[in-house]
Amino acid sequence: MNDKEIYKQKKLFKYLLIHLAIITFVVICVYPLLRILSVSIRPGDKLISTDLSLIPAGATFAAYVRLLKETLFLRWLWNSLLITVATSFIGVSLASTAAYAFSRFKFGGKKGGMILLLSTQMIPAGMLILPLFLMIMKLGLMNTYLGMIIAYSVSSLPFSIWILKGYYDTIPRSLEEAALVDGTSQLGAFYRIILPLSTPALSIAFLFNFTTAWNEYLVARVVLFSSKQYTWTLGLFELQGQYITQWGMFAAGSMLVTIPVLMVFLYSSKWLISGLTLGSVKG
């Protein structure tokens, strides 16, 4: 065996090893999703079965039909969507202007403010439940969309501000200065120049807001108490009874709620990827 063949074999071995590792992780990642799919189309409400096939014998969409017909699932989905979209837009709007101020202006407490924002992210979400509950109750916003939107928007603000500030810092100030000379106000320069250039960071902030609000359970549990106002996270738990849980419908619901997130991710993937690499190459 000559050197060239040894080199080829080593390269092949390395290639196989890397792929084996990747496939293992993909399987670990995808397996639960496939099991949920399997449970959702399994006849009856069996969670555990000796049948390991992905598509079980007598597969049926009955659980999906029952979920949509017999429960308020569509209403819960609509509630979630409304709260999530509103949260994402409000959160990103607030964060984009706040981050601009932190990035461009000089003011007292600027550094301290950024550290304070960061420190709020270090507190476990559960610890903020009580103060949030008290605030929303005092505002008279219990069991309302607005209460949820406010709670979600403010809780994801710090992360969004940090992401956006970091991105704004990489945009040369001369662009705004050129815009000022050309005739815009400071706000105009932000709106016409900085915002259009910040789509990668804005997309990341939007996705973060969207996924956080979409999947949130704890705050919703505290703020919402009527079944009609529930988000899907609360609604699905309605299916869990004291003696019996309707696993088929539960799994069907779990499958359906991934669709909006999947769509948002697919739509914004090109911005997301460029956003994740931001800072590595000066734009």
């Binding site: 662009l175 200065e177 050129a178 000379v181 050309d182 815009t184 106000s185 120049i193 250039l197």
Partner: protein, 365 residues
């Protein structure tokens, strides 16, 4: 077009004085180049004129209108930035028309002005491209085009060629000179490159440490530098400086340093300045060190140096000479063909000999 006037303009960042009472006037249709080393305050002065930097004290006038507190867009200026500052999400045409669109100018007028500027700058074929699809030189032309389209009262250029390579810089320099001839506009151009200053300017403003050192035509600044700083900053290779003392012998002034003794005629140093014992600095440009020259009424007595190194630049050659501990650079025709260590006779051209007071550093002759 317009006049620009700076009156006792001062800029401080905390306790650091960046500009210290700058007074200057730029006349209508004039091309003025502000030149100086990094950190001398030239860009700050330009940015204050543009309204991008606050003025600590003093006044700035454009066309006799005080603009201290006027928004940049109201000053009727256009600025070309060092890094071009093209809007990356807009095409060349959109970049050029941005200011007019903001003003809600009629579309026909916008199109006409953009086409006109594009023709001048040979950008017609690039109007639909994005800035990232352009070369450095093309981007620079778009930045200039964006300024032209606005038809401002004053054009401001902030080191516009410093990001280009040497060849492109030369080309763009010629382009800017042509553009000035065509527009006949008031232009204020900031650079640290003395070649740009010498070749483009109608008048040069030399700055150092926030103070204007000299204002004059390129030839004035080169031939009659006001002080040691200007003499050393303008000209390449830099002027030779020799520290020494004046003495009077038989009513005639003599410059004496450790290694040289040169008679100084009255037309070089006026009698009133030729004080016995005065500490002075003699300045002579490398092309006024006349190698092989003979003593005459225009050239000093013959001196002898040793050649240390020679640098061939193509058509010219720099000779690094040593007389005792004193070092001089001479610029001669190419192919001097002498080995290092060989003796080199020379004299100093009286016509372009400069004397500076050692203490005040000001020109005395």
């Amino acid at each position: 077009m317009a006049e620009v006037r700076f009156s006792k303009v001062t800029k401080k960042f905390n306790e650091n004085v960046i500009l210290n009472g700058v007074d200057a006037e730029i006349r209508d249709h004039e091309f003025v180049v502000i030149v100086g080393p990094s950190g001398c305050g030239k860009t700050t002065l330009l940015r204050m004129l543009a309204g991008l930097e606050e003025i600590t004290s003093g006044e700035i006038y454009i066309d006799n209108v005080l603009v201290n507190n006027m928004h940049p867009s109201k000053r009727q200026i256009a600025m070309v930035f060092q890094d071009y500052a093209l809007y990356p999400h807009m095409t060349v045409a959109e970049n050029m028309s941005f200011a007019l669109r903001l003003r809600k100018a009629p579309k026909a007028e916008i199109d006409q002005r953009v086409t006109e500027a594009a023709n001048i700058l040979q950008l017609t074929k690039l109007l639909g491209r994005m800035p990232k699809q352009l070369s450095g030189g093309q981007r620079q032309r778009v930045a200039i085009g964006r300024a032209i389209v606005r038809k401002p009262k004053v054009f401001l250029f902030d080191e516009p060629l410093s990001n280009l390579d040497a060849k492109l810089r030369e080309e763009m320099r010629v382009e800017i000179a042509k553009l000035y001839q065509r527009l006949n506009a008031t232009i204020i151009y900031v650079t640290h490159d003395q070649v740009e200053a010498m070749t483009l300017a109608g008048r040069i403003v030399v700055m150092n440490r926030g103070i204007i050192q000299q204002v004059g035509s390129p030839i004035e600044v080169y031939r009659k530098p006001a002080n040691l700083f200007v003499a050393g900053f303008i000209g390449s290779p830099t002027m030779n400086f020799i520290s020494g003392r004046l003495s009077m012998a038989d009513g005639k002034a003599v410059f004496q340093s450790e290694d040289l003794s040169i008679g100084v005629p009255g037309f070089v140093l006026h009698e009133s300045e030729a004080v016995d014992g005065r500490e002075v600095v003699l300045g002579v440009r490398p092309d006024d060190v006349l190698v092989g020259g003979k003593a005459s009424e225009h050239c000093s007595e013959k001196l002898q140096a040793v050649l240390e190194v020679s640098e061939l630049l193509g058509h010219r050659e720099n000779l690094y000479l040593k007389i005792g501990q004193t070092r001089l650079v001479a610029m001669v025709e190419a192919f001097f063909n002498q080995a290092p260590g060989s003796a080199v006779p020379f004299c100093l051209n009286y016509t372009n000999m400069h004397f500076f007071d050692k203490i005040t550093e000001k020109r005395i002759g």
